[in-house]
């Protein structure tokens, strides 16, 4: 072997399609503690941990063979003395030969483990630890408001406590959804038979109570029954309508249309765009994008997109001739 290849600052191994090791450099031998004669001709799996062998057979090798190359794969090597060594592997496949390098990632792995723990902690705090006190603040304020002897000042304070607690609860929920979407593989949905007509009517009625001065025009066409996650659909209606309320121009109305057709259900929410802010439709769905009139964390539209994608659907925004519209499409489940 070329002397420079032998002393490369990363492990190198070349093996046949049968997995037989043809060449291995000194760096790798030093890492795993084998002598050259002990591994040459042996299966490349000799160098892997048992879990690593399964991963190699089920993911690494098939992908390498089909794509011709593969990179940034986390594998665990097993040294002669059974020590485990985390590495990142990069490999190319050509004419029946596979060339692979291993880069040790021991300290990087510690960092990654810390991130993973931090994610779990954040999801735990948002999902439970913060919700419990917020719920009791909300319930407390609601109980106070029902007291007949409460003074005018007391009423105002209780109302403001209630509004703040609800806002904090909404932000907590949004952050939890964000954390799940980003770190836990997506927002979980539980599709069940439901009627999106009822969902839209309920949410719009709630928003009308909260925003009595905002005209919200709701129209619904067709049979809106199907198999979706109704709670998540409610979130989509609430987020899109809430967004339209925040960003409408002056006192213009918000238009909510639900079109239930044979192949899909389309929710369209439109408002006359605030001329001061002309959002780029493509950027809108990125997280933490705060417009001047946003009332939350800038996660609403991001969460809408995640929910729609989890349903196998889609969401698109258009901004034409001063009219801003978002269309969310649910495909029919059955």
């Amino acid at each position: 072997m070329d002397e420079r290849l032998d002393s490369l600052p990363c492990g190198f191994v070349s093996f046949t399609d049968d997995g037989a090791i043809v060449a291995v450099n000194q760096t790798l031998l030093d890492l795993v503690g084998y002598a050259r004669a002990e591994v040459e001709g042996r299966h490349v799996e000799t160098l892997l941990s048992p879990g690593g062998r399964v991963f190699y057979q089920t993911h690494f090798y098939p992908l390498l063979k089909m794509q011709g190359q593969i990179g940034e794969i986390y594998l665990v090597l097993r040294a002669r003395d059974e020590r485990v060594i985390p590495v990142l592997a990069y490999a190319t496949h050509r004419e029946g030969r596979n060339d692979c390098i291993f880069i040790q990632v021991t300290s990087r792995e510690r960092y990654q483990d810390e991130i993973a723990r931090a994610r779990e902690l954040v999801i735990g705090i948002l999902g439970h630890d913060l919700r419990v006190p917020l719920t009791s603040v909300t319930l407390g304020a609601e109980t106070l408001l029902r007291h007949e002897q409460l003074s005018q000042e007391g009423q105002e304070i209780a109302l403001s406590v209630l509004a703040s607690a609800r806002r904090a609860a909404r932000m907590t929920t949004d952050l939890l959804d964000f954390a799940r979407a980003r770190f836990a593989g997506g927002i979980p949905i539980q599709p069940r038979p439901c009627d999106l007509r009822q969902v839209a009517e309920k949410i719009v009625a709630e928003l009308r109570t909260i925003h009595p001065h905002v005209p919200i025009e709701l129209s619904i066409e067709g049979d809106c029954r199907g198999v979706w996650d109704a709670d998540r659909a409610a979130q989509v209606v609430a987020n899109l309508t809430g967004n339209a309320i925040d960003h409408r121009h002056g006192e213009t109305p918000v238009v909510v249309r639900l079109l239930c057709e044979e192949a899909s259900v389309v929710l369209e929410v439109g408002n006359v765009a605030d001329t001061a802010a002309q959002p780029d439709p493509d950027q809108l769905f990125s997280p933490f994008r705060l417009g001047p009139a946003s009332s939350g964390l800038g996660l609403g539209l991001f969460i809408v997109r995640e929910i729609m994608e989890a349903h196998g659907g889609s969401v698109k925004a258009t901004n034409a001739a001063g009219e801003f519209r978002v269309r969310a499409t649910w495909p029919r489940g059955t």
Binding site: D17, D18, G19, H43, E45, S49, P50, G51, G52, R53, V54, F55, Y56, Q57, T58, H59, Y61, P62, L63, K65, M66, Q67, G68, Q69, I70, G71, E72, I73, Y74, L75, V76, L88, R94, E95, E109, Q112, I115, A116, F183, A184, G185, G186, I189, P191, A310, H311, G312, G313, P331, G333, T334
Partner: protein, 266 residues
């Protein structure tokens, strides 16, 4: 669900000029693209059908139901529903790895649907237990699950679409723009647990459909002893040892795999 929904749910692909159905079921780790070196060889004589389980490839991922897929029976339901949707009879079922057991479970439930099963690297139990040698300790599987977590959720490069120049095989380049084996990480993680902690040894005795066990040499996932166990417990099965090594002969040694299947089908 009607037939069209099932076909869409699994991105079922039908090919070939024959009338007899050959249904190829991919194993853990990849989607139907794994069959690309083997399935086309049967196009002239059979109706060749490939599909993705929910969560893999181009399946409809929104249809993933953790309750349905909590064990291999849910996957056997998928196979039977596909057979029903396509009105298949006399099916030759080719299952790799965990799908070999999925095929066994499906054929126990509806034996009349199936003519023959071809089981590539089957294992009814991956974990050692008493006298039984499955090849793995529980800790080994935990190690695999950790590795999957790190690859799916940590390192960005894995399973992302790879666009590359492939001067040797230009016909592949365009196709590569869509990634192979793309997987929903949550589904894959769950499927790994369902697969590697499963114990279907007791089911083997109930199979009445004839089966071929294709056993690779030096298979770390389904060692020869496991292949022997499957063969001994499947009445009316044949065991064929391949010279191919590893766990994916249909990827690494397609010619030998094709020849063995052809010979069995006669």
């Amino acid at each position: 669900m009607n037939a069209a929904d099932i076909i869409r749910r699994h991105h079922v692909v039908i090919d070939g000029r024959g009338t007899r159905a050959m249904l190829f079921a991919h194993g853990f780790g990849c989607d139907q693209s794994m069959w690309r070196f083997v399935a086309p060889a049967f196009r002239d004589d059979y109706k060749v059908i490939t599909f993705d389980y929910v969560g893999w490839g181009r399946s409809d991922r929104s249809q993933y139901d953790p309750e349905r897929y909590r064990d291999l029976d849910g996957y056997a339901d998928d196979v039977l529903e596909i057979c029903e949707a396509l009105e298949l009879r006399n099916v030759i079922f080719v299952g790799h790895s965990v799908s070999a057991m999925v095929g066994v479970l499906a054929a126990i439930r509806e034996p009349d649907r199936f003519a023959k099963l071809i089981l590539i690297g089957p294992s009814p139990r991956y974990i050692n237990e008493g006298e039984y040698v499955g090849g793995f300790e529980r800790a080994d599987i935990e190690g695999l699950l950790q590795m999957m977590d790190k690859n799916f959720l940590g390192w960005a490069g894995f399973l992302a679409p790879v666009v590359m120049k492939n001067p040797d095989r230009p016909e592949l380049t365009r196709e590569l723009e869509e990634s192979f084996c793309s997987t929903d990480p949550r589904v894959a993680r769950r499927f790994a647990e369902v697969t590697f902690f499963a114990d279907n040894r007791a089911d083997l005795a109930e199979l009445t459909v004839p089966a071929l066990v294709l056993q690779c040499a030096d298979d770390a996932i389904a060692p020869e002893r496991v292949g022997d166990f499957v063969h001994q417990h499947l009445a009316g099965s044949e065991l064929r040892r391949l010279a191919a090594t590893g766990h994916c002969p249909h990827v690494s040694h397609p010619e030998e795999t094709i020849a063995a299947i052809r010979e069995y089908l006669g």
